[in-house]
Symmetry: C2
Amino acid sequence: MSKRIGKQTVRLSEKVSILSAASTVGPKEAEGPLSKYFDQRVEDIYFGEKTWELAESKFVEKNMGLAIQKANLKPKDIDYVLCGDLLNQCTGSTFGIKNLEIPFFGLFGACSTMGESMSLGAMLIDGGFANYVLTGASSHFCAAEKQFRFPLPLGTQRPPTSTWTVTGDGAVVLSRKGDGPKIVEITTGKIVDMGVTDANNMGAAMAPAAVALLKAHFEDTGRKPQDYDVIATGDLGTVGRQLVVELMEKEGYDMDSRYTDCGIEIFDAKKQDTHAGGSGCACSAVTFCAYFYPKLVSGEIRRMLFIPTGALMSPTSSQQGQPIPGIAHGVVIEGCKKGAK
Amino acid sequence: MSKRIGKQTVRLSEKVSILSAASTVGPKEAEGPLSKYFDQRVEDIYFGEKTWELAESKFVEKNMGLAIQKANLKPKDIDYVLCGDLLNQCTGSTFGIKNLEIPFFGLFGACSTMGESMSLGAMLIDGGFANYVLTGASSHFCAAEKQFRFPLPLGTQRPPTSTWTVTGDGAVVLSRKGDGPKIVEITTGKIVDMGVTDANNMGAAMAPAAVALLKAHFEDTGRKPQDYDVIATGDLGTVGRQLVVELMEKEGYDMDSRYTDCGIEIFDAKKQDTHAGGSGCACSAVTFCAYFYPKLVSGEIRRMLFIPTGALMSPTSSQQGQPIPGIAHGVVIEGCKKGAK
């Protein structure tokens, strides 16, 4: 009866299907290399609202609605919604989903939230508690800068290791039935604290958590990086990705070109002046939904290890001299057989 | 295979056992009517730390450790820890549990967190994904006042409808085996927004969510209030409890004296000047762990409906004129047979 296959990994018995995936992004993401893949591109960073925080909630509301619509369902068909964001007390999510009237589990996993929500959502279905679960994550560049760094009108210079918070929402509908890509295994991360304190180098803060997750996953499953068509971390950017490659090499794993990071995929760092890459809860969420999900549906990706990464800090904890602990959550997704869908 | 018995309710098949419960509280709680029931009473509101936020994390760390110890387990035996708090980005929880090195799902359910963590934890066990899950919730009066209301040194007068955030942490170890009280049903709340905007009247903001949860639970299970020995909401206080009684009466339910609120139990409002009662994530968490859990173990309570309640707002959302949506999560717990333990 136990579905545990290792210290941090469970294998699902029912093969939970990802019935639909939706992505809605802001203007900068719409100018990036993944532009054509997004479902909705919003030119107005305020999304017609008076504040950035309300704009984020609108990204959530519109995109969650779209994910349900793409699954040919109504909100009342969904048993649970699980989501979260970076705003204090996760108001991006709560004000975004309140009108859906779906039983709600609020999550805080920082930028690992998409991994956390997919993990818990898949287990709720596989455990027999739900037929359909909506999971997602959101972030907003302006709201995040204001809250975590500096007021935007200051025009503060950003160091090269800094990343750019993605504006948008990514959401999937998970189902007990259906022929979509399947969530087959879940490796849940522990908090890893290496004492990094630089809030402008989140890649370095989160890389050790990604490495710990990768190691745990490979040990639990007996696999190696080459058993996946794609391994994608969440928002480590170029600095964090390089650290993962180097640290994994020391552990005896060759993280070759099949390993990428959503923060690298989503922006053209040189043209778009995003320094080390994209970040924020939405970074892995929209990149998965827009870019990887269709490749899983087409069968171009047969097996993917998706690892959203999060930095578990607050401005208060940083001001009080505390380090930035990281976490990462791994989800293994198997693509549809080529030509099957 | 489906465990769903209604629109918002699932019935567990394995009867997940609550193996242990631990509570650690601050000085004001130690002076209250439940004083003798708490496992640990800390006289120093700083718990030996330099800041209130670090103190909250220490409450989490010490109490989570105690819950594991009371279950005769080690941290490595626990498959998942699920917890959350009120601090921005939930740093009370993350800095509190990081040294436990247990796979972690961070939650944000505001003061409903204990209900959310017990719900998800129980489903992870019942679904076959875990043998032992640690779930909990924490809050700290000073850290919460500073973050949500006014700096404490101002000595701001508090209106009679206001509640007093409980300082402490409550945690339980859930198990696949064991003869402790059992979690048998879970009713998951939707967000309810009645447009209340008064951050000094959280009881009124959350009462409609508690009423919606009660109605959904009774409809899903076909039961009535009199089918429970105890029904306890989380932190509505006297104002919120009265609203629940009146609103439920209109719905045809008689919420008699078996219905209480943890915020009413934990303080002696007159003697302790706590106005409408206790609140905060820890309010329902420590009251459940210290006061109700032993009565479930002894069999004095045969069936309890535990409903932690939360207000999903932030200072930013309130400053931007947004209402205070509420949520409530219901957990049905059956006590041990008298004399069985």
